[in-house]
Structures are given as structure tokens and as C-alpha cells.
């Protein structure tokens, strides 16, 4: 049986992590198991798992190593983990979430404490920053959600460096670009929305998520690329009120 692993701590953030894992699991054909690495008690974690009827495994040891090991199990198809200790905080996401994203090629759902729990997942926004010459992040994310039955929205954000050379007739150019982009990078996918934007990628991604009514935002994560990379993903994680699905690339 496939499993979505909900990695929870003993904080207020643990409950939305389990909640989101329970709505993610059905679209992946999986069940949910929660895991808590014992550090400073487990009552809150027990309560969060119990609230959703999810079995909780307690383990001891180094959180990163233990969680990475569990996520590596063959039956685990995705993992969920919290970020930011308290609702409203815009602190950077914890090292643990990013460390796990670096250590696995499985999708990692990073859940902020204020994330609303939808009845079910309906729509995922897949974000692609920068130039179309770097499509792998987008395509990997598409592969993950392609067979889930989720509605797919796509946002492509150009920055000042990737402003198009030409824009002939505004009234047709966006459609023309969208047509070519989708044919090139999203063959076989018929997104419900395709948003093209120009600006700061993390800003535009979050605006697009709100505009299309996404339940989660999916982003490519440049696995192992080092601290100077993944800036957009880090900013989205810091500010996104919705869960962010990191999909490893590289």
C-alpha cells in the first residue's frame, strides 16, 4: 500500500500537516501515516494524528536522518512536513524541510501553520519561473500530478532577464505564446488555467495561486544545487499561505 508520510513535530503546526496529508493521500492512491521524531514531548503530535485517525509512529534519533530514511521506503510516495512554527510568521522555512527536499526525489508537501484544509484537493498550481529553456522543473511537477485527477493550473513568470523579444499584437500574443508553451512543455495536459506573468517570480506565483483558486502550489526544487539556488521556492515557502509541493529536480 502506498503511503503519504506526515512528518510532524510537537508544535501547533503539526495539525495542518496531518490534515493536508489526508487530502493529498487520496489523489495519490495512498494512506497516511504520521511520524514524530521525539525531541521535546509528543502530546501535541499525538493529538494531531489522533484528530484525523492517522497512525502515529514515534522514533528517536536525528530528525533529518530518521525522516529521510523513512521517506526512502518504497511504499512512501510523498511526504508532508510543516514549516514556520506559528501562523502569521514569515520566518524562513526550517532547515529540516529544505534538508528533506534535498535528500529525496519524492514530492514533499510543505504545509504552513495557517494552511486551510480543503475538503479535498481540486486544483494545483504548477509554477515555472524564468525562461522556457529551463522546463525540467515544470515537467517534473507535471509528471507528479498528471495522473492524480487534480485540476492543473500553470503559471509561467518572466523576469526582466527573460522578457520576450517580441510582442506583436497584444490581443493575440498571449494566446499564441500560451499555445506554443503548452504544446512544448505540457503535452497531454489540458490545464484549467494558464497564467503568464512578468515580475518577481514568488510574488507572481502567489498572486496566480490566489487568482486561480489553487489548493496547493507545486514548484520544482533544484535538489542538491546548494544554498544559492532555489531562491524562488524559498520565498514561496516563506510567504505562501497554501501548502507548497516541492518536486525534486536534478
Amino acid at each position: 500500500m502506498s503511503v503519504v508520510l506526515a512528518a510532524i513535530d510537537n508544535s501547533a503546526a503539526s495539525r495542518p500537516v496531518v490534515a493536508m496529508a489526508t487530502v493529498l493521500a487520496p489523489v495519490l492512491g495512498a494512506t497516511v501515516e504520521a511520524v514524530h521524531v521525539l525531541e521535546d514531548g509528543s502530546e501535541t503530535a499525538r493529538g494531531s494524528a489522533g484528530a484525523f485517525g492517522v497512525p502515529l509512529r514515534l522514533v528517536a534519533g536525528d530528525p533529518r536522518a530518521e525522516l529521510a530514511s523513512l521517506i526512502a521506503n518504497d511504499d512512501v510516495v510523498a511526504a508532508a512536513i510543516g514549516c514556520r512554527g506559528l501562523p502569521g510568521s514569515h520566518r524562513a522555512p526550517g532547515h529540516l524541510a529544505l534538508d528533506l527536499a534535498d535528500s529525496t526525489d519524492k514530492p514533499l508537501l510543505v504545509v504552513p501553520p495557517e494552511a486551510p484544509k480543503p475538503e479535498r484537493l481540486r486544483k494545483v498550481l504548477i509554477a515555472m519561473e524564468g525562461t522556457p529553456s529551463r522546463p525540467r522543473r515544470l515537467q517534473r511537477a507535471l509528471q507528479v500530478v498528471a495522473n492524480t485527477g487534480l485540476g492543473v493550473a500553470i503559471v509561467h513568470v518572466d523576469t526582466a532577464d527573460s522578457i520576450p523579444s517580441f510582442s506583436d499584437q497584444v490581443q493575440h500574443e498571449t494566446d499564441a505564446y500560451a499555445h506554443a508553451f503548452l504544446a512544448r512543455y505540457c503535452a497531454g495536459i489540458e490545464p484549467s488555467d494558464f497564467e503568464v506573468r512578468i515580475g518577481e517570480p514568488h510574488d507572481e506565483i502567489l498572486k496566480a495561486a490566489a487568482a486561480v483558486g489553487a489548493d496547493i502550489v507545486a514548484l520544482g526544487w533544484p535538489r542538491g544545487a546548494g544554498p544559492g539556488h532555489g531562491g524562488t521556492a524559498r520565498e514561496v515557502l516563506r510567504r505562501n499561505p497554501l501548502p507548497t509541493l516541492l518536486v525534486a529536480v536534478g
Binding site: D168, E173, T174, A176, H179, A187, G188, E195
Partner: protein
């Protein structure tokens, strides 16, 4: 006169892929992410139908095979788009990702070869849309079983209205709001030389832009094609292409990449425009869905000149498209409170304006679209196209008939569009010029000068052919007064035309200095509001006058205006680089000319717009030809005389351009030592400072006896 030699490399053109790099576009292996672009690049069109160059099986994704027909639309208003028809070029083959799929488009013969070279599913194929009998698609596939193989596949975007069988011929019909496409096809099984099974397919398309095409006609044509057989059809198709190349080829000795790109452009131009009835030339031709097949000014001013100079019946068909929509243009003018004819900025089936009124831009902003209301220069552009056709062909029947009508009604529009001051000065308020970054401007120099030219051209036509009864002398007198009174913003002190009233007071933002690169869509870089308030130009605007109507500009004004406006031009329109290449060639600034010429030449081949997957930029291709023929070769039709005044970059050994001018087929070969003109019939030529009539025969213009290659 020599013609391109088919099969000069020893191959059998049309039967196996050519190896001549100057004539072939090769795409291999298969990669889904490149397929959208490839299917546009490899599209086949015969003026009636256009088929995407999608692999015979499109199951691997990336592309969507499609067929579109010239002028057959569906939908209403701004949503009007080209209808898609049944697909002939398909087969039940398997193409895995990264498969060794090799496609070779032979530009010389108009044949697309597709081979899967290894593995259990290997096959080879050749296909073409017949230029000899437009609307006929022919294919041979070796290596597939034909049992149960249907000749037609349904379109991907539209529903099949009805279908059936007539003996061994299947037919399928697709109906749109306005017209329909019907196709009939049959397969013939055989065995190849190596014993491999072979299928030959013959599909006949009949299209009707405003009614219901008859399936029986298509069935009969398909049956006739099958009777003639693949080899016969291939031979006549190849001959048809050879004839077109003999009249249209451009050879560039000294730049192989540009050579191939040029032939690629000419190939698609030739395939896009039909030469009978009417030809609606949409922005992407028949090569893709983008721009919905809508017809813009670029058909009249960028594409038509190539047709007028190489295949006049195609230019005539393009004009017929406008002529048949003159009644709607008359109504549109009346609705706007004007006289004469007001052609729409975007046109499709009916001639009503189908320009959207709002859209989302690439930044995600909802923007109002004003081009349909304000880009009035389209009226003069249509008249200019008619004049260009007359200049190149001398078609007096057209000039006396529909041409005269176009001149008169467009002149009437301008005469009613102007505001005349007490001092007699005439002004045109509230327009958009080719530089669409600046909306609702007054006295746009391009619009005003084109209007002035239009009025004078109409007066000249009336003088030549006699005024129709409803054009009385007082009306002509008013046209003359308006033309003379139209302000053009020219400053005698600087030699610069002000692009529109107040342009010089805008923020002097030099895009060449502030942009990270050019071309660039400056409205997206800086925001629409900022460019509206700055001297940032989208594309040639004032300079377009020097390209289209140089006689209406002040002598010697090209160079100062080119040097003033080009640094202010973002080239954010795909139309811009080619025009600047043409003008830099005229001023002898070859380095700059070649830089923008090369950009224009690869806009689709290198997908510089990111949108080639939606179809090719047909007008840019026309602009490329203009840069070579008008800019570098210096060809210019002036009434019954063809001027030849070449400029040859030092990097090129020779430039060889073939055209037709008033019944004579000409080959103009420019070399560093001089230039030579071959003519197969008498022609009036102005070259080397003299006017002469000669032909059939050859005239040499040695470098040391002429003023050629000297910038003016």
C-alpha cells in the same frame, strides 16, 4: 534563363530526401518538447490547404496535427478563427520519445520526408500538398501494414459534420459558421522494391468559405488523383515548384545560413497564398492556429509585394479578398460617420472588424485593445497594396476596375477623416500608427503621409483611367486640397519627421541604451504607461514611409530619420528587423543591416518569439524578401519602369534575385564587380543612371561605369 537544377546532388528529388543543405530543413530526432515548433516549420501548404508537419503519428505528444484551409473560418466576431479540416497525413506508426525520427523538408520540391530509421517499427514516407493541383494531399509510406487503415483522420479542433464512403473512397466534412471543408481520400496498397508493404494515399480537399462544399466533387478528384498515381502527381508537383522557384528564388553567395533561411521563408510564402479566387492571408498563414487566421495590414504591405513581384496571380487573389469586402468597408465607414471605405484592422470571413476589444497581456494585465478603432492606416495600406500590384504587373484591367474603386473609396475615407484648419492645414486626430506603443495620437506622420499618398494616387488613377460618374471635379479638388494640406511633421532644420504631434516632448528614453538587449518587447519591460510617455518606438513608423512610399518623403531624409529613430526602436514587433535591414542596406550601413537581417531570418527557425509553435510569422518572411529585393538588390517598381540600384555587403560574393516585372521574367545578379540583368522579354529598366528598354537579353552594369553601391 537558368533554373534551379532539381537533383543537382544526384538524388531523385521528391523520391528521397535531398542532401543539399541550401534547400533542406532537417529535424531529428523526435523530441516532444520541440514538436510544436517543428510541426510549424515543416508545414506543407499549397495555397488552398495547409497541413502541419506533425509526425504521422502524433500520439507521442508535443504537436497536434492539423489542416487549415485558406479563408474558411468558423466562430463569430473576434472569436472567428480558421476552421480545421480532416487530416490526410497520418498513419498508425509508433514514435517513442527520442526515437531516431528524421524529417527532411525539401524546399526545392515541396516534399516532406519522414523516416523512422531503426527498430521494429521502422518506416519511411514522402508527402506533399500539390502545388500543381492545390487542395490535393499525396503520401507514400513504406513499412506499414495498410489493413484497416483509414485515409482520413478527424480534425483535432472541430467536429466532423458528416462522413461516408463512395466505393473505396472515404469522405469527411467539417462545417464552420461560415464555410466548410470536405475531404475525400483513398489508399492504394503495394509492395516496395525491397518487398516492404507500401501505402499510397490520395486525398482531395474542397473548401467553401461561405457554403457547403460538395463531397461528390472531392470523391471524384480523389479518385482521379489515385488513377494518376503517386509518381505522376509528384512529377507535376515538382515541376510546379521548379516554376515558382525560377521566378522567385534568391541566392546569397557568401552566407549559407541566411541562404537557407531565405529559401525557407520563400517556401512558406509561396505555399501560403493561393492564386485563384481570393486569398485571405492570416498572420500565421496556414501553419498554425495563432492569431486565428485574422488578416492584418502585414498581408497587404509585407506579403503582397513578394507575390506581386514573383507570382502576380497570388497578389491579385490577395487583392480580391479586399475587393470582395469593400461593401462591408463602405458600411464600416458610414457607421463611423465617414465617407468611403474603412477596412478593418483585423479581418476574417465577412470583412467586419474582428479585432478583440480587450485582452490579457503577457504580464497578466487586462488591457483595452484600441487598434480596431484607431489603426486607420490600414485603409491606405490596402490602397498601397493595389498600387504595388499595378506597378509590378501593369494589370490595366484591375487598374481600371477594382483597383480604381479601391483608390477612390480609400481616398474618400481620408478626405472625410481629416480635420481642416482655417489655414488649409489638414490633420488626422486620434490614431495609432505602426508604433502601437503610442495610442490615440494626433498627426501620426505615417498615417498622414500614407493618407496624402493615397489621395494623390487616387487622383492619378482618375487621370489615367477617367473618373467614374460619381466622382465629380469638385470632389477631386477637395482631395487635392486635403493632400496638399496634410501636415507631416517634417522639420526642415533637423531633417526629422516628428512621429506624431508631441513626440519630441516625450521622455527621451533611448531604448538602445537602457534595454538589456534588443529586440525586446519594451511595453513589457517598462510598462505600457511608461513607453506611452517616452520616445520608445515599437517598430518602424516614420521609417515605414521610406520603405513604402519613398517618393512621398523629403529627398535625403532617410539617413537622418534612420539614425534618429532606430536607437529609439525596441523592435518589439517581429516586423521591425527586416524593415530596418532594408533601410540600412539603402544607406550602405551593411554591418547594421546584416545584424537585423539575420534576426529577421531566424525568427521562426530559432523560435525567437517563443510562439512559433502557433504558426509561422508569414509577414516577417515577406519582410525578409523585401529587405533582400528592395533593400540590397535595390529593386523598385516605379510605374512602368523597374529601378535597379543595388547595395552589396562586402561579406557577400553575390546576390541573385529573380522577379517578374510587367510580363518579363528578370534575374538580377549583383556581384562586387557590378551587376547584370537578364530579361526574357522587353523591359524598361532604370539602372546605372540611365533608363533603357531591352530584352530578351542581358545587360551588364560594371562597377566602374556606374554609381551603384553608393549610398543615397
Amino acid at each position: 534563363m537558368s533554373q534551379p537544377a532539381p537533383g543537382s546532388d544526384g538524388s531523385l528529388p521528391g523520391r528521397e530526401p535531398s542532401l543539399d543543405a541550401a534547400w533542406t530543413v532537417v529535424r531529428e530526432p523526435f523530441a516532444a518538447e520541440h514538436e510544436a515548433v517543428n510541426q510549424a516549420l515543416l508545414a506543407l501548404a499549397d495555397g488552398v490547404i495547409g497541413a502541419s508537419g506533425t509526425p504521422l503519428s502524433d500520439a507521442s505528444g508535443g504537436g497536434r496535427r492539423s489542416v487549415r484551409a485558406n479563408g474558411v473560418y468558423t466562430g463569430a466576431g473576434s472569436e472567428t478563427r480558421l476552421l480545421t479540416g480532416p487530416v490526410a497525413f497520418h498513419a498508425p506508426v509508433t514514435i517513442p520519445e527520442d526515437a531516431p525520427l528524421r524529417r527532411v523538408l525539401d524546399l526545392r520540391t515541396g516534399v516532406l520526408f519522414e523516416d523512422l530509421t531503426r527498430g521494429a517499427n521502422a518506416y519511411s514516407s514522402a508527402r506533399f500538398s500539390s502545388l500543381a493541383r492545390p487542395g490535393t494531399a499525396v503520401m507514400r509510406v513504406t513499412g506499414i501494414e495498410s489493413a484497416g487503415l483509414s485515409a482520413l483522420a478527424p480534425p483535432t479542433e472541430d467536429d466532423v459534420a458528416d462522413a461516408g464512403m463512395s466505393g473505396t473512397v472515404e469522405w469527411m466534412r467539417v462545417r464552420g459558421v461560415d464555410g466548410c471543408i470536405v475531404a475525400a481520400g483513398t489508399n492504394r496498397r503495394g509492395v516496395g522494391g525491397d518487398g516492404a508493404p507500401t501505402v499510397e494515399r490520395f486525398v482531395a480537399y474542397d473548401v467553401d468559405p461561405s457554403g457547403t462544399a460538395d463531397a461528390a466533387t472531392s470523391v471524384r478528384r480523389a479518385r482521379a488523383a489515385a488513377t494518376l498515381g503517386f509518381d505522376h502527381l509528384l512529377n507535376e508537383h515538382r515541376d510546379a515548384w521548379a516554376r515558382r522557384w525560377a521566378d522567385a528564388d534568391v541566392e546569397i553567395d557568401g552566407d549559407d545560413e541566411l541562404q537557407l533561411a531565405t529559401r525557407f521563408a520563400l517556401f512558406h510564402l509561396i505555399g501560403t497564398v493561393g492564386d485563384s479566387g481570393e486569398a485571405a492571408v492570416g498572420a500565421r498563414g496556414l501553419t498554425g492556429p495563432s492569431y486565428r487566421g485574422h488578416v492584418f495590414w502585414d498581408a497587404d504591405t509585407f506579403v503582397l509585394p513578394f507575390m506581386a513581384a514573383t507570382h502576380p496571380p497570388a497578389a491579385r487573389a490577395m487583392l480580391e479578398y479586399r475587393v470582395r469586402r469593400l461593401p462591408e468597408a463602405l458600411v464600416a465607414a458610414r457607421r463611423a460617420g465617414r465617407a468611403g471605405a474603412r477596412f478593418p484592422w483585423e479581418s476574417a470571413a465577412t470583412g467586419e472588424d474582428v479585432t478583440p476589444t480587450s485582452a490579457r497581456d503577457r504580464a497578466g494585465n487586462e488591457v483595452r485593445i484600441l487598434t480596431g478603432q484607431l489603426e486607420d492606416h490600414i485603409v491606405a495600406d490596402v490602397a498601397w497594396a493595389a498600387s504595388t500590384y499595378i506597378d509590378w504587373t501593369g494589370d490595366t484591367q484591375f487598374a481600371r476596375g477594382p483597383g480604381l474603386q479601391l483608390f477612390v473609396e480609400s481616398a474618400r475615407y481620408w478626405a472625410s477623416r481629416v480635420r481642416v484648419e482655417r489655414d488649409g492645414s489638414a490633420h488626422i486626430d486620434g490614431v495609432i500608427g505602426p508604433d502601437e506603443y503610442h495610442e490615440s495620437v494626433d498627426d501620426n506622420a505615417f498615417t498622414n503621409v500614407m493618407a496624402r499618398w493615397n489621395l494623390r494616387r487616387a487622383l492619378r488613377a482618375l487621370g489615367e483611367h477617367g473618373a467614374p460618374l460619381d466622382v465629380d471635379p469638385s470632389e477631386q479638388q477637395r482631395w487635392r486640397a486635403v493632400a496638399d494640406g496634410l501636415v507631416d511633421g517634417f522639420d526642415t532644420a533637423t531633417g526629422i519627421y516628428e512621429q506624431f504631434a508631441g513626440f519630441e516632448r516625450l521622455e527621451p528614453l533611448i531604448i538602445a541604451e537602457v534595454a538589456p538587449r534588443r529586440p525586446i518587447a519594451a511595453d513589457l519591460l517598462l510598462g505600457a504607461e511608461r513607453v506611452q510617455g517616452a520616445q520608445v518606438v515599437k517598430q518602424a513608423d516614420v521609417l515605414m514611409l521610406h520603405q513604402l512610399v519613398p517618393d512621398e518623403t523629403v529627398p535625403g531624409s532617410l539617413e537622418p530619420n534612420l539614425h534618429f529613430y532606430e536607437p529609439r526602436t525596441a523592435h518589439g514587433s517581429s516586423l521591425s528587423p527586416a524593415i530596418h535591414a532594408s533601410l540600412f542596406a539603402r544607406t550602405g550601413e551593411f554591418e547594421r543591416a546584416l545584424a537585423v537581417l539575420r534576426i529577421a531570418s531566424v525568427i521562426d527557425l530559432d523560435d525567437l518569439t517563443g510562439s512559433t509553435g502557433g504558426g509561422l510569422h508569414i509577414a516577417t518572411m515577406g519582410g525578409l524578401w523585401q529587405a533582400l529585393a528592395f533593400g540590397f538588390a535595390g529593386l523598385r517598381a516605379r510605374d512602368a519602369v523597374l529601378q535597379v540600384d543595388p547595395r552589396l555587403p562586402p561579406e557577400w560574393r553575390a546576390l541573385d534575385v529573380r522577379v517578374r516585372f510587367r510580363g518579363s521574367r528578370l534575374r538580377v545578379r549583383v556581384e562586387q564587380s557590378g551587376f547584370r540583368v537578364d530579361a526574357d522579354a522587353p523591359v524598361a529598366l532604370e539602372a546605372g543612371g540611365a533608363t533603357l528598354v531591352f530584352g530578351p537579353g542581358t545587360r551588364e552594369f560594371p562597377h566602374d561605369t556606374t554609381q551603384w553601391n553608393t549610398p543615397t
